[in-house]
């Protein structure tokens, strides 16, 4: 179902209304940033991916199909930007270096410490396909249908990836001594 408020805001953006732009960025900045952070495991990279996603989305506003939710569209771009960012990072890092920041830093103080780190490390150990479905399901609260729309894959594939990814994460956490 199309979100009529978002649709109206997109239409106003197409006419140059910056108030509508501010409303859309305000609405989706935090969820997009959080999804990018969970995919990338690094706040700076997540901020870069978020910015790039919004720039790309609004540069290509004429390509937005109003039959779909703006939410799905911006998430799709953000996921792609995050994965592109991962590829760039990988090329710059030796293979034995992890993707997650070594020092959590002050930004991480609010997170629930050890368990949160273990969860993020578990996520980073997954392949991009698996990580993305876990992030969309458990951190962005997307349904199978929404994930299918965002990633442009069949729901059957969403389920298959999600179930396998959860099993792998569970096994890794248990192996690391995390009680589940």
């Amino acid at each position: 179902m199309v979100n009529s408020r978002d649709h109206a805001l997109v239409e106003r953006c197409r006419k140059g209304d910056r108030k509508a732009l501010e409303a859309l960025v305000g609405e989706y900045e935090k969820p997009v940033y959080n999804a990018a952070y969970r995919i990338l495991g690094n706040p700076e990279d997540a901020a870069d991916a978020t910015q790039a996603a919004f720039l790309k989305a609004f540069e290509n506003l004429d390509r937005y199909d109003p039959r779909y939710k703006f939410f799905s569209w911006i998430y799709r771009i953000a996921v792609n930007e995050s994965i592109n960012q991962l590829k760039r990072i990988r090329k710059q890092q030796p293979l034995d270096e992890g993707e997650i920041a070594d020092d959590p830093g002050p930004d991480d103080e609010f997170e629930a410490g050890h368990l949160s780190r273990e969860i993020q490390e578990g996520l980073m150990s997954l392949s991009e396909d698996y990580r993305t479905v876990i992030v969309l399901r458990h951190f962005s609260d997307c349904s199978y249908r929404q994930i299918s729309e965002i990633l442009e894959i069949p729901e059957k594939t969403v389920k298959s990836r999600l179930y396998s990814a959860r099993q792998l994460m569970k096994d890794q956490l248990v192996a690391n001594g995390i009680f589940l």
Binding site: C13, R14, K15, G16, D17, R18, K19, L21, E22, V25, G26, E29, K30, P31, Y33, N34, Y37, P43, E44, D45, A47, D48, T50, Q51, A52, F54, L55, F58, E59, L61, R88, I89, K91, Q92, D107, F110, E111, A112, L115, S116, I119, I134, R137, H138, F139, D141, S143, Y144, K159, L162, Y163, R166, Q167, M169, K170, L173, V174, L180
Partner: protein, 266 residues
């Protein structure tokens, strides 16, 4: 061993995607298998833990930076906030070398030509707010050497040298950044206008091609080994004679240096 059907139903149940019939089937399977009940408990706990982690706040000013850089079509009540989008790639594709009228090597002709086109268009004179993409240029532009800066400090090494080509000052960066670092070039303070950025190789996909110009400074954020050239032109006012470079690393260390930029300015 929990069979495939049970695993499917447990997972779908955790996601709230079971119909009444499937729910009843799962309940029966769980009643019959302690192993299945344990798997369900573990997966449910994993889901609960992930969903209970607090959302992170985006960095301060991120929304403003995004809004500053987005241009919308049509009329706007905030026209002054628009950021000129400056894509050298498009200019490169359309440029005809013969228009430049400069007797340099072919690569240089092309390079200087599209920057001249860009400057004529006026977009690159606005140093207040701009984003762009580095253009690939496998034939690095050379010219009369003006100065060299050698950098050797923890996590950051390499050279930057300036050369002069016609009206242009070319800054040649050859750096190795151990961490993702911010490179700032104070274009406005040097009395220069901005022409663009070219990366050394069309095949090198390892560096982030985006750059920003804001508050008179060019900003490139990257990591690893990289070669790129920054093209500047004397803005017509009094040139400062030097251009300042700053490299900020994530550990808080800052490198600052200056390079001479010649005397072509008025």
């Amino acid at each position: 061993m929990v069979n495939e059907r049970t695993v499917y139903l447990i997972n779908a149940g955790i996601d709230g995607e079971l119909g009444p019939q499937e729910r009843a089937e799962l309940d029966t399977l769980l009643d019959a298998s302690a192993e299945a009940r344990m798997l369900q408990a573990e997966l449910r706990r994993l889901a609960t833990v992930m969903e209970s982690l607090p959302e992170r706040e985006p960095p301060a000013g991120l929304a403003e930076r995004i809004l500053d850089r987005i241009r919308l079509p049509g009329p706007s009540r905030h026209a002054a906030a628009h950021s000129p989008r400056f894509s050298l790639g498009g200019l490169f594709a359309s440029f005809q070398p013969a228009q430049a009228g400069l007797a340099f090597a072919a690569g240089l002709l092309v390079t200087v030509g599209f920057y001249e086109t860009a400057l004529r268009d006026g977009g690159s004179d606005d140093l207040s707010n701009m984003v762009g993409t580095m253009v690939a240029n496998s034939t690095p532009t050379v010219g009369e050497l003006q100065g060299t800066l050698t950098i050797a400090q923890p996590g950051l090494s390499g050279t930057v040298f300036t050369s002069e080509v016609g009206d242009f000052v070319v800054m040649n960066f050859n750096l190795d950044l151990a961490q993702r670092s911010e490179i700032l070039i104070d274009v406005a303070a040097a009395g220069m206008s901005f022409g663009g950025v070219a990366r050394a190789s069309a095949d090198d996909n390892s560096i982030d091609e985006r750059y920003e110009v804001s508050g008179g400074k060019l900003r490139v954020v990257n990591q690893g080994r990289q070669q790129f050239q920054v093209f500047l032109r004397h803005a017509g006012g009094v040139s400062a004679g030097v251009i300042d470079i700053e490299v900020n690393q994530p550990d808080g260390s800052v490198f600052r240096g200056s390079l001479p930029i010649g005397g072509s300015g008025a």
